[in-house]
Amino acid sequence: MIINVVLFLLFQLFPSTQAQLKFDQANQLLKDQDYTGAIKGYKEIIDADWKSGPLYLNIGLAYTQLDSLGMAKAYFLQAVEFDDTKAEALKGIEYSAKKLPQKAAYLPKLPWDHVLDWTIKLGTTGWSWLTMTFSYLSLIILIAYWFWFRENKWVLRTLLSSIVLTGFLAAAAFYTDYVNNRYGNAVLIKEQSNLLKSTDVESEITSITFEGYEFIVDFSNSKSNPDWVYVRMSNGIYGWIPKSDLLIY
């Protein structure tokens, strides 16, 4: 009784404790080689809005044991985003890529793409706080310039630089938010699926895609049909694919 009360209070005060408990239970199922049960337990944690590197890594490993390599790859790709599981997740991605029979072609990234990736990685919140910081800094320099250092060109240059930088930071915040809302990532979990020119199954096939292929999902364009998503393949080809064939994250 006391333990239950303590656990209840603990869960209320620290909701992540509940996530850890479920994680431990699912891990036990994983150790017992009940992979389906373990995956079910892990997904309950995701449904409760918690995430962690080990969570995604373990789901990827469970799917590897079930030979669902597309699913495994999708979770390894999510585990890569966490520093504590990055190295192991990369091994998982490499393994699933080797085992999957079809390899996807990737367009080489331009320097601009790397910049955009980095921009998105910092996140909307990061860019927003940076914008806030630099806007106040600009105000302080402005006051100093107008009322004390009117003739000092260096202060003027610093002021202009600060204002321009603030503008760039704000633009980065808006861009990151736009990209996060409009685009998502996905991996093909079916053995094979056709990329079509429209949402009509009889429409022209743009490309044939195979399990483990990665896509960028355009949520904005996909709003027109709930069962289909508009995607961009890693080789730059666009098209429509059934939503049920993908794991979108």
Binding site: W50, Y95, T131
Partner: protein, 590 residues
């Protein structure tokens, strides 16, 4: 049954008519004739149209221009040609002949239209030729008629069940006086409503004898098909066509001679066709408590598994073997229910079917490939598999027993080297850091927007303030205008303050307040100016005449008060109020 008439009499008649049907075209010394070798023929027979050109004085002949035919068709537009020369009474004569094969298709009286031939750029035409085409079916329906040759399709069972095998045999009947030199089935026979398998034992057709309506015939089975009806109801097997080459044999020939004779002079091609054969297909009875996958025949069914004890992740093959005679090619895979933790892969299928005997036999094996993913003890449940036995006219059921399966843990689950690919990533099982995904965008929060807007608002306000200060410092008129009110108020206050001690000085201050205000606002120098200038400016600005008058009076009083005797405090207060009123009025439009 289809019959043709007595061929000896027929050939004689044809030769006779051929002579009379000769068509002649005379033009100078050029002669163009058209002939057919037969004018009365059976449907499906071939006739030869010959265009003969003869003459002594021509140089260039083009190929005949073939007309459109009714009830017949040219087998080829390329003729076989021959040329001959003769020299009679000192005159040289050339002859050319063009021969075309025509296939007779429809029953009736038809005409071959005139054929055009261009000789030395001059057009010659033959006369039209009449051809009578007779029906074999009509001849066969006559009980007194006994055709020389006909084709028949014989069925082993005209009332089969759906899926039951029916043996369809194409049999040729011919009289002793004929020899079959060769036969060629026409491709593309469609047995609509049936699945058909051609049976071939690899032997030449054997000739046997038979007597039909008292007439002795020889017969041979040319083709055999195993037919399986795919739907119930009244179906029709379409006519089967065979093109044969026959010749009239010598009278003393042995009736049991070989099927294929040698070539002779009376050789000809004959197209033979069976009648359409009706088949009434019976539907299968109802079946409730067993799996039926379309098997009709006599079968033995069994089920086996490769292993009953495996480790998780190891594949298992569950084989279902269906062996026997019947529609084995049409049998589909039985569907089993596997435990949820079993992963099912694409099933395999193999078959070995014997088509050499009259009954199709064989074995078909279906393999379900499954991989159990979770350790435990499992049961693949028992099922009843049914096939319809047409001989017994009922379903027969085979019970496929339940299969018990033990799935053990895989000791090397996370250290597999499948397909030579090492993978030894271990799961993370201990404590971990938990993150909650962002539920809101910070820059969309009101407090954040206000905080972010604050420096901008302050910056804009400071900009205006700085601009104001700059203007005040740099623009004297602007500064005077802006300071006018404050200066006038100060002066009025001073006037009021010093009134009790020095009333004349108070009037002077009051005058400065009014004049100074107008001068500052209207950018007029304050000193050294006549008061009339201020009055004029105020008149221009539209000040009321009454106020102008009062102002004028007040300013004059202010100017002259120092020379006047002492003024009472009461007068000053009245004048001060007037000055205040005028000041207020001036502020309204200056």
């Amino acid at each position: 049954m289809k019959k043709i008439g007595n061929l000896n009499r027929f050939f004689f008649l044809v030769s006779l008519i051929s002579v009379f049907s000769l068509s002649k075209v005379w033009a100078q010394d050029v002669e163009v004739n058209a002939t057919v070798n037969e004018t009365v023929v059976f449907q499906g027979e071939r006739i030869v149209l010959t265009i003969a050109v003869s003459g002594s004085k021509f140089k260039k002949i083009t190929n005949p221009d073939l007309p459109e035919l009714q009830g017949m068709r040219f087998l080829s537009s390329t003729p076989s040609t021959s040329t001959s020369f003769s020299f009679v009474n000192g005159v040289a004569k050339s002859s050319y002949s063009y021969s075309y094969y025509i296939l007779t298709e429809k029953e009736g009286e038809f005409t071959i239209p005139p054929v055009s031939v261009s000789i030395d750029q001059k057009l010659y035409k033959t006369q039209a030729l009449k051809v009578s085409i007779r029906s074999r079916s009509a001849a066969a329906k006559n009980p007194n008629a006994s055709p020389d040759i006909f084709l028949k399709m014989e069925l082993s069972n005209p009332k089969p069940y759906v899926g039951e095998q029916v043996l369809a045999t194409v049999v040729i009947y011919f009289k002793n006086s004929l020899e079959i030199l060769s036969y060629q089935p026409t491709a593309g026979w469609k047995a609509e409503g049936f699945w058909k398998e051609e049976l071939n034992d690899g032997k030449q057709p054997q000739v046997t004898s038979d007597i039909i309506n008292g007439v002795s015939y020889r017969k041979a089975e040319l083709m055999k098909y195993a037919l399986f009806a795919t739907k119930s109801g009244k179906l029709n097997l379409s006519p089967f066509t065979v093109v044969t080459t026959v010749r009239v044999a010598s009278r003393n020939r042995d009736p049991f001679s070989s099927f294929f004779g040698g070539y002779g002079t009376n050789q000809r091609n004959v197209d033979l066709e069976t009648d359409a054969v009706p088949v009434e297909v019976i539907s299968l009875p109802e079946l409730n408590d067993a799996i039926f996958t379309g098997a009709v025949g006599n079968y033995k069914v069994s089920r086996s598994i490769t292993k009953t004890s495996v480790v998780a992740g190891e594949s298992i093959e569950l084989a279902t073997k269906i062996q026997g005679s019947g529609n084995i090619a049409l049998v589909t895979k039985p569907k089993y229910e596997f435990p949820n933790t079993f992963e099912e892969y694409n099933p395999q299928e193999s078959s070995d079917i014997n088509r050499k005997s009259d009954i199709i036999k064989g074995v078909k094996t279906f393999s379900d490939i499954v991989i159990p993913r979770t350790p435990g003890t499992y049961v693949i449940p028992e099922v009843k598999y049914a096939f319809f036995n047409p001989t017994r006219k009922r379903f027969e059921t085979t019970v496929l027993s339940a299969i018990n399966l033990v799935v053990k843990k895989d000791p090397r689950a996370f250290a597999s080297t499948t397909q030579q690919i090492p993978f030894e990533v271990q799961p993370v099982l201990g404590q971990t850091f938990w993150y909650s995904p962002e539920k809101f965008t910070v820059f969309k929060q009101n407090w954040f927007i206000m905080m972010l807007a604050f420096p901008f608002v302050v910056g804009i306000a400071l900009f205006f303030y700085r601009s104001y200060l700059d203007k005040m410092e740099g623009d004297v008129q602007f500064a005077r205008s802006n300071k006018a009110s404050r200066k006038a108020d100060t002066r009025f206050n001073a006037a009021k303050k010093i009134a009790e001690s020095d009333i004349k000085a108070s009037y002077a201050e009051m005058q400065k307040a009014l004049v100074g205000y107008v001068a500052d606002r209207l950018h007029i120098p304050e000193t050294g100016q006549d008061e009339d200038i201020y009055i004029e400016e105020l008149v221009k600005k539209g000040m009321e005449p009454e106020d102008i008058k009062q102002l004028n009076t007040l300013l004059q009083k202010c100017s002259t008060i120092r020379f006047a005797p002492l003024t009472s405090m009461q007068d000053f207060q009245n004048d001060f109020q007037i000055a205040q009123k005028l000041y207020k009025s001036i502020r309204g439009f200056v």
